[in-house]
Symmetry: C4
Subunit: 239 residues, 4 copies
């Protein structure tokens, strides 16, 4: 039960998760039921349901879990949201399942004290994870300033972990990457996408837009003959 949250406050957080899931979908980061957004409010996490079209979630369908991943309030199927889709079709039992990303989100909430964590299936992230590695490196691009701790003259490093057959199997390697790269606010997953977090949802969303720009630019610059890790904000004599 969400005893600590007043009803209007609880509703606002649920609406925010829905809005941000729609936003991810509109950017192409949550096609085909992939990706998702979660928020923290004190000891409560608000997490989207699993395996549903993320752009169609209704507020009451959002799960509330504690910091150990225990479900406090399960998402309730709604005729206005994906519940209506389950009810009207053979695709489900009418029950919602908690996002399979939850154990992964928990690492950022607990190890990094994040206020929001998102998972994106962006194609730019996927391509960058395959083209570069085992660490994605970029330097000299302004959008790095939008990343927490980013400086245009320093190489920004984002670890890339191997993908696994099932999402929850990523848990250990994601945690290991967070520990190995204590300053990063993102972890790429090979051929899959990226996990990104921030101190609040504004920070997570803004950094995610910057990361995605950097992934896309790095792939394009590679095609144009540049090494993204060697870019310089100043033109060199040869450049």
């Amino acid at each position: 039960m969400t005893t600590s949250a007043s009803a209007p406050h609880d509703l606002a957080l649920r609406q925010r998760v829905c809005e941000l899931c729609r936003h991810l979908y509109s950017l192409g980061w949550a096609s085909g039921t992939g990706g998702g957004f979660s928020l923290r409010d004190g000891e409560h996490l608000y997490v989207a349901p699993s395996g549903v079209p993320k752009e169609r979630i209704a507020p009451e369908e959002v799960f509330v879990v504690d910091l150990d991943g225990n479900v406090l309030t399960p998402g309730q199927p709604s005729a206005e949201g994906v519940g209506g889709l389950l009810g009207g079709s053979s695709s489900g039992s009418g029950k919602l399942k908690l996002s399979a990303c939850t154990p992964l989100f928990l690492h950022a909430y607990k190890l990094r004290n994040a206020g929001a964590v998102l998972h994106s299936h962006s194609q730019a992230a996927c391509l960058a994870s395959l083209l570069f590695g085992p660490v994605f490196r970029v330097r000299g691009l302004e959008m790095m300033k939008g990343i927490e701790g980013g400086h245009v003259d320093e190489v920004l490093e984002i670890p890339i972990i191997d993908n696994m057959p099932y999402e929850h199997e990523l848990s250990d390697s994601l945690r290991d990457a967070m520990l190995a790269f204590p300053k990063t606010t993102a972890v790429l997953v090979r051929g899959h996408g990226v996990y990104i977090w921030g101190r609040d949802w504004v920070s997570a969303k803004s950094q995610a837009e910057c990361y995605d720009y950097l992934f896309a630019a790095a792939v394009r610059l590679h095609e144009l003959g540049f090494d993204p890790a060697q870019l310089d904000r100043r033109r060199t004599k040869e450049g």
Copy 2:
């Protein structure tokens, strides 16, 4: 006559077809009157009219046909939909025609017990159909998990059939491809697009978004020097 369907239920299905046709258009999969979405409700299929801007169909303009393709309720031109366009121009007689894809949709309904079938003119599908073949193969990408039966460590195979001058002429080769690839939920048509189905419209839509991602990524990865059929979710020593 749609005797088995109550009026509100019938209307909801018609609205869904219209909404999904607009969705296909917004993704660039139904430009220039191409592409379309169909649904099954028991023995009734709801199919869009042919040769009209798919983003502007009104609910009453959707056809209802049986599983042999016989028209039960023809689409009725509406001033709010494409009927208004026909009436106000010299482009048609004011009568709607059943989608030329209908015989192709029927194979998925009958051979695969599909609940929804769509046809997309996605440019990514078109390029993939020309670049790869006679079978499109991909492995190692997370979005494969969104395809029914997809596993990130197994090669996903989608047959590519030759295109024909007229849509209905694809009927035999599409059926043959379904029989030759009994696990596939999609058939690519060379230089044309793709047919995709699922147990319901949510499944067809979600899989279509995953397939399109895979087609686009495969073309980009080919350009970047990768063989999409040889990707590995784990980084190899050389990779």
Copy 3:
């Protein structure tokens, strides 16, 4: 004066021009005041004003001209449309000017009996006009069927004319291209864009979407090592 048109009919045509200009803008074909849409209603042509943001035109700002290009009803600046922009800024005198494309549109209305003509600054058209020429040729793509007279087994030819410093200077070469390619419904302008027409606005819009798909696909296929004029709807032994 638009004496032959009843007020509601006249308003509907003006609204259609505004809607289609917004549509062109949303597709990226009318950035920076470029591009535009025109309609024919008997002896009256409805044409957008020149040099204004095409996505913000109000119905009363549309010009009505006759088939010789004489202005019957000039566009009237409106506070709800681009008139409000001119009035509230130093960018204009508050008077609207007829689109500089008008003499070019007239050729399609008179030589081809078009019901609608549009001009697009699509980047795909621009790139195709520079990469291919003096004639754009494509074969084997399904979207050719959406072009009037298009057949997937025949080469579709679209003439490419040189660009000129001022739009009206294109008039003679555009007419010459129409005469030299009597079956085409489009003329590309080198480094500029494309003129496209149809028997009504639905046909012009649908064909424009098909042409744009073909231009974009041809550029991509060229990059992938294909000759767009040699594509085959059937896979060859080597292909």
Copy 4:
């Protein structure tokens, strides 16, 4: 205090800044809190706040400054705008800061008598700034006509300055570039983006759309083997 502006006029200008920031965001030019739009009204400049999601600014959150950059009316946090985001999270003190671009905008207002100045983080601008230089040059493209003073037969030149760790450090080099290129209405910043201005917001917006088209086209044409500075509106014998 905005003593010279009547309340409705003042509100209209604030709304315009918000609308244009949303427009920049929708074009992908203001992802992750980057980019922004500013307007001049006599001796008053209307400037967006810094470091906030630019697509969510409310009118009262816009700053009014004089031509020396002194704040006349600070942006007031609003529950409907980004103020609601600051208040409801740990991301800020609840106070808005003036855009860090302001000193840069001032050069265009004072040296060029601009009526509006925008800053874009467009990826096309970023790529063009790295691929070309120290001056971006293009010729032979129609969209050059949408740039003030642009002629399709003359080379359009846009200076590219080095980027700096902090935005305000660009001030001197931006001014120097304006003085060295007295006809330009844009300055590119290496690996960063572009500053663009016009006599009013319509001109700034229209030119920005043309510039962005030119940046994107130049990068694509380079990939296709063309030198954008050598394009000709006429086809040469070899071309």
